[in-house]
Structures are given as C-alpha cells and as structure tokens.
Symmetry: C2
Subunit: 259 residues, 2 copies
DNA sequence: TATATTTAAAATGTCGGACAAATCAAGATT
DNA sequence: AATCTTGATTTGTCCGACATTTTAAATATA
C-alpha cells in the first residue's frame, strides 16, 4: 500500500477501452442487465443487502446506492422488511437511456424490436417535419458532417455507427422540443446497440446512405412534407434490414397508412 | 429526542395525506424540484456532501443516495474532486415520471407546455389507433369505468382528475407497445399535474367528457381511423382549454396537417 | 375455539466516522 | 520552460451500530 507509488510509465495509456465506471454504477449496470434480460423476473425479491453485498464483495453502502439507481429507473422497489423486489415491466422506465441500452445489449425479443420500430415510426417522421421547420445552420452543419463521416466509415464499423447516432440525435435536437430531444439519448442508444446487433448477425449489404441524404436535404431545404416522407421511408428500410425471419402477422399494414 | 417514546394513541392516524417518503427520496425530490425549476442551473456545482448533508441535517449516506437517484435521472453528474454539478438540460430524462411531475409541479414555462402538447399530438392519436386495433375487453372495461367516474366527479376535483389519468393510461396500455406504455406513467403524471394547474387558474368551463366518449367508442368499435381523429380533436380542445394568453406565433399550423 | 393483543424477528433505513482514490493546483526540481 | 512532486479537496468505499417499519408468531383474552 505504501512505497509502491506507481511510476508514470504508462502515461499515454490507452484508456479508450472503457468508461471505468464507479463501483456503484457497475453494480447497478450488472443488476439492471440481469433484470431486463429476465434473469430476475418481476416480483422476484433480491437477496438482502447484507447477503447480496457480501456475495459481490462490496460494501453495503455501494450496493445500496446501486439499488437506489435502479429504483430511480423504476426497475425495483424497496420496502422495509419486505425487501427489494423487481417491479412489474409497466413500471420500468424503458425510455431511460441506460435501461434501453441494457435491453438492447442482449438479444432483444421480437416484440421489443417491433415496439421500438413502432415508436420510431410514430415519432421520427413528425420529428423530421419539425426539424425541417425549425432547424438552424448549426443543426444542418452537424448533420452534414455526421453523414459525411458515416459515408467515410460505413455503418459496419463503430465510427460509422457513432456518426449515424449523431445524425439522428442532431435531427431530434433540431425539433427544439425538449421532450423529443430527451427521447434522443434513449432511442439513439437503442439504435446504436441495434446496429451493432444487426452487424453481429450479418454485414449490412444495402448502403443506407441515400435515404439519409434524402432526409437531410429535405430538412436543409425546410420542406416539412418531404422530410416526413423521407424519414418514413428511412425507417421502413431499416425495418427490412433487420435480420428477422418474419415480422408478426400483417404488422406494418395494421398501423401505417390506415387512412 | 429520548425518553419520549410515542405511545400508540393515534393508531388510526389519517396517513392518507402523503406517501411518507423515505428520507433519501424526499431529499431527491426537493433537490430535483430545485433543479428543474431553475433554482440550480445547469453547470452549477452543488455544495459538497459534508456541507450539504450538514445543512439538511441528514447523514452523508442519505444525501448520497439522493444524489445517486438524481444522477440516475440525468439531472446531475458526480466526479471526484470536481463535485456534483447540474447537467445540461439535454441530459435530463424529461420523460421520467418523477422529473416530469417535478417540472409540472411548479408553473411550467410556455415552451415546456407547448413541448408536451406537441409530443402528445404526435403520440396519442397514433396510440389511439393502435389501441383500437389491439384493445381487449379488459381495456374497454377499465376505460369505460374511468370515464364514468370522470363524469361523476368532474375534473374539477381530484377524484375526477385521477379517473382522467386512468383513462389515458389504460388507452396507452391497450397499444400493447411496452415503450408507449412506458410513456404512460410520465405523460399521465404530467397531464395530472397540468389539470391541477389548469384548475388553479380557473375552473374548467367546458365539459371534456364528449370528446373522451368519442375516443372511447371508436376504440371499443375497433375503428382506427375514427380513434385517431377523435384523439386529435381531444388534444386540440385540451390545448384551447389551457389558460395561456397566446400560443407562440402560428404554432399549431406549423406542424399539424401540413400535408 | 376464535379473536385480539403483544411480542419478536427480519429487512431496509439512517447515522457517524474512517480511510481510499482521483484530480486539480501550486510549488519544487531539473 | 517544462516536468515532476507534493498537497489539498472532493467524491468513493468501507465498516459498525442503531432506528424504523412491517410481517409473523406467540400469547392473552373473550
């Protein structure tokens, strides 16, 4: 502990690896992933603080702080004497960026995939229309830059996927609607994980750039109608790109363009 | 503090008053409301844990757990040596039920009101259409019951507002989309606080029941087109009911029915 | 026997103090 | 001038104790 001051050899250390989470955060992440993955089901009562923290070899304080974080995200609920139990799925804050990322870190179930695309189909075309009406020059610049980097790297590598994420984030930011912007972080995280998931299954054959540029040009031109249509098409193509054998029933019909 | 063991006299105490939050939760609530209300602005560094917990007369542990909860909701970020600072608004999880409730507990700013209605205008008509396509008998029963209680109490009293909230919650639940359902708790909390806000300003003159029944009947009949239209109208009326002097510019035009 | 009351237990909640780790700023060294 | 060292400050972690709440068992009571 003493006299072993680490010398400064590895100064330019490659700390790009991971975020180096604090203890309580990494406990929350592990526990959270176990919960959303179904390992701990709703209604399940976690081990008591003493036992759980003992098994994890951490202090009760750190463990409690982790549980507080999960409770803040609606995943668990603590009561005296009863213990800490996993909440019903309806209580989960599924749009929380962390929760969403945890959900899509594993192999998301078909219904979940479908649910996310459904939400995107509802939100993003209207968001694109709003963005077309309210974007400023900075928004346009960031979006163009993101697309150029996306073209440079392709979405088959991490840098390209990050650019993709930034494009969508900046688009939502251009709506000037704080609630829609708040969806950004969550949905962006999910889409990011999702693209990774797609990549795991198979390299993307089709080039997704053209539909992105179409959305961009519509927004840059301030054409709300075209922006809405372009975004609808972009999401439709993204759905077809998913390595899913068969979407349930007549899914896309039952919802879109009913009128 | 000592030797004053409270006897069990007030056994049947009227604890219906409040939820009797735990210490850490009430600290988080107070701090959170100060943050979202603008009392602590983004970038502001909170007092150190020792000082802050000392001023609040609570232990450092309880204070830290409160901060963890706020961090889980994206309101603050803690770093060693730097301290705990209020995050940028874009980082806030505005759709978190607690955060949303805190925002609308005060006098929400016009832009925020506008943002929420904008989101509802986008989401809820499509949600109503989905609900019409996927609702089951239980959904219909709950929604009918909620509307009947709403008619009985009117939205000018708490019981009526709760019924209103349940109607919208059950509607979103009927979409069978977990992400949309997750919006439930948040949006419902906001609408609830909002109706209270409206009530504070003036008792509602117009009876909101007819448009609710129209949505209900459309969903019960499985008519997606009518459900979408009815919900659009319901929200439009809700907007006109808001005690707002003047909505910014040509707000509703710039967005809806552009095509 | 059935009911009500009391008692005991078990879990989270709160407290206080101590030390560790990280990080920034200023000072010392080369 | 640049680098290294040192120190100070703040959050992070650990530990141990007690309080509070709630459930369940035990006991007394009708």
């Amino acid at each position: 502990m003493l006299a072993t001051k680490p010398n400064k050899v590895a100064a330019a250390s490659p700390r790009l690896k991971r975020k180096e989470l604090r203890l309580h955060s990494s406990i929350a992440r592990d526990l959270g992933m176990h919960i959303v993955s179904g390992h701990y089901r709703p209604g399940h009562v976690l081990a008591g603080e003493i036992e759980a923290s003992g098994q994890l070899k951490v202090s009760r304080s750190a463990y409690r702080e982790a549980v507080r974080m999960l409770a803040a995200k609606g995943l668990v609920q603590s009561r005296t004497r009863t213990g800490t139990r996993v909440s019903a799925v309806e209580q989960w804050h599924l749009l929380d960026p962390d929760v969403l990322a945890w959900v899509f870190a594993g192999e998301p179930e078909l219904e979940v995939l479908q649910g996310l695309f459904e939400l995107r189909t509802i939100i993003e075309p209207e968001a694109a229309a709003l963005a077309a009406a309210r974007r400023n020059d900075k928004n346009i610049g960031v979006m163009r830059g993101a697309l150029e980097r996306m073209a440079l790297h392709t979405v088959n590598v991490e840098a390209g996927r990050i650019a993709d994420k930034e494009f969508h984030s900046e688009l939502l930011r251009a709506t000037r609607n704080p609630f829609i912007i708040s969806l950004t972080n969550g949905v962006a995280a999910a889409v990011h994980a999702l693209t990774e998931f797609k990549q795991r299954a198979q390299a993307l054959k089709r080039d997704p750039l053209p539909e992105h540029w179409r959305v961009f040009h519509a927004i840059a031109a301030g054409d709300t109608v075209e922006a809405r249509a372009a975004m609808t098409e972009l999401i439709r193509l993204a759905i077809t790109d998913m390595p899913v054998k068969r979407w349930p029933e007549n899914w896309t019909d039952s919802r879109l363009m009913q009128d």
